[in-house]
Symmetry: C2
Subunit: 259 residues, 2 copies
């Protein structure tokens, strides 16, 4: 359910929002139908988005996302402090264990992998960089949600209770909150085979200014590489890394404000 665009600027953005994983190619006719814009208006919008490179079209093909996106992604990788601060820790954990280490950003009400390194041969994640992941399944989502302020947390769980039920996180809002409370106590989340069978996930929240987490640092590792006592060790390392990334972000903010 898309929020209705109320002005021309939002209507322009709305064009880009219909390009989703389910539908990556749109003809002008289809866009008119979907968005409810008149023909000249739609073409005006398309022209602007095409000129700026966000969209491209080829003869006999609908419109698809354009190369500007690739360029912006490159710029983002050079500017995102989370990625810049987190990369050394991805390296470190992936070097120490045969695992996949991920940086996952909290974005809207989704979570999104923004960087990862894998030292395991079968690193086929079903959630690669850029693909929104479910919030309710796996350690990553919980590691973030558990640390949201109550006033955001409770409505979120209420709204998405069915997801949490399906993921086995509890049948009532209270039960889900209880589970999250223990994550909050420990400071990190662990999940056994929730996303991929046979894979253990560790995740700890990354904070920016203070109250609300903005991302998660996570490690996925084959279950048979993790005998009982090692669980604690890895969890501690993940927690430590997340803490140090948070500190790095804070120090960057400070650098900026005192320039």
């Amino acid at each position: 359910m898309r929020k209705k665009a109320v002005n021309s600027l939002e209507r322009l953005q709305a064009v880009l929002e219909v390009f989703t994983e389910d539908r990556l190619e749109w003809t002008p006719e289809e866009l008119m139908e979907e968005l409810g814009y008149s023909r000249p208006t739609l073409y005006r919008y398309l022209k602007i988005l095409k000129d700026s490179g966000f969209l491209t079209s080829m003869p006999n093909t609908g419109f698809t996302l354009g190369p500007r996106v690739v360029e912006m992604d490159y710029l983002l990788r050079k500017s995102d402090n989370l990625i810049l601060s987190g990369a050394p820790y991805l390296q470190k954990l992936a070097g120490r264990y045969e695992c996949t280490a991920l940086l996952v950003r909290w974005y809207g009400e989704k979570i999104l992998c923004v960087d990862s390194i894998s030292s395991s041969r079968e690193a086929i994640s079903s959630y690669p960089r850029g693909r929104p992941m479910p919030l309710s399944r796996g350690a990553i989502g919980r590691s973030i949600v558990a640390f949201l302020p109550r006033r955001n947390l409770v409505p979120l769980i209420k709204r998405t209770l069915d997801e949490w039920q399906a993921a086995g996180a509890g049948d009532t809002v209270e039960a889900v909150l209880d589970g999250l409370k223990s994550v909050r106590k420990k400071g990190y989340a662990v999940a056994y085979g929730e996303v991929t069978p046979g894979v253990v996930g560790f995740a700890a929240p990354i904070f920016d200014a203070g109250q609300s987490p903005i991302a998660s640092f996570s490690v996925s590792i084959a279950q048979d590489h993790v005998p009982g006592p090692v669980v604690e060790v890895i969890a501690r390392e993940v927690l430590l890394a997340a803490g140090e990334i948070s500190a790095a972000l804070a120090s960057h903010r400070h650098r900026i404000s005192s320039q």
Copy 2:
């Protein structure tokens, strides 16, 4: 020199255009100065771009590109026919030679790597995915420019003659055009150490509908891996791959139009 934005939609896009490799972080004050927008207008624009995820801001930090970019890049990788059609050929060439194979798109008046695979240990390209490359230096630029229609080609060379001179492609427009003519005759371009010393580049144009190339398929390989006669062999393979990618694009168009 940015083209002046004439309407509010273009002014909105213009905000994103100031985020470049030279300047990845902007405060509202700086943006007001740079773009000449009033305070409320700028904040209106920033709100929209922030809500749509294109920009983010953290306390005490300016605005930077946001996670929406990462998500869109994921979607693009799933939808761009050039990437989809080209990937098997990147695999193939990188498997056969110790090299880096690239797909480079012609975009505005720039060229941009949109995908690459490397089988060489030192694959440190100074032009990774998403970073615009110079047109006048290296095989890739020439492999595209040489096939532009004359009415676009001549003004382009005239406008950028200094670059071509600096790259040693000729001192006059005629000399540059002559060099390109031979590329056009062979169907591909070869460059010895133009971008990186000791590295040979091969590139052939990829066509869409017909006249004008839209991209280039390219292989970079260490010069001492390429004894004389092999040059011809690799060039032929690159040319073949580019041709087959072009054909794949055409067949996709056909599939669409006859659905």
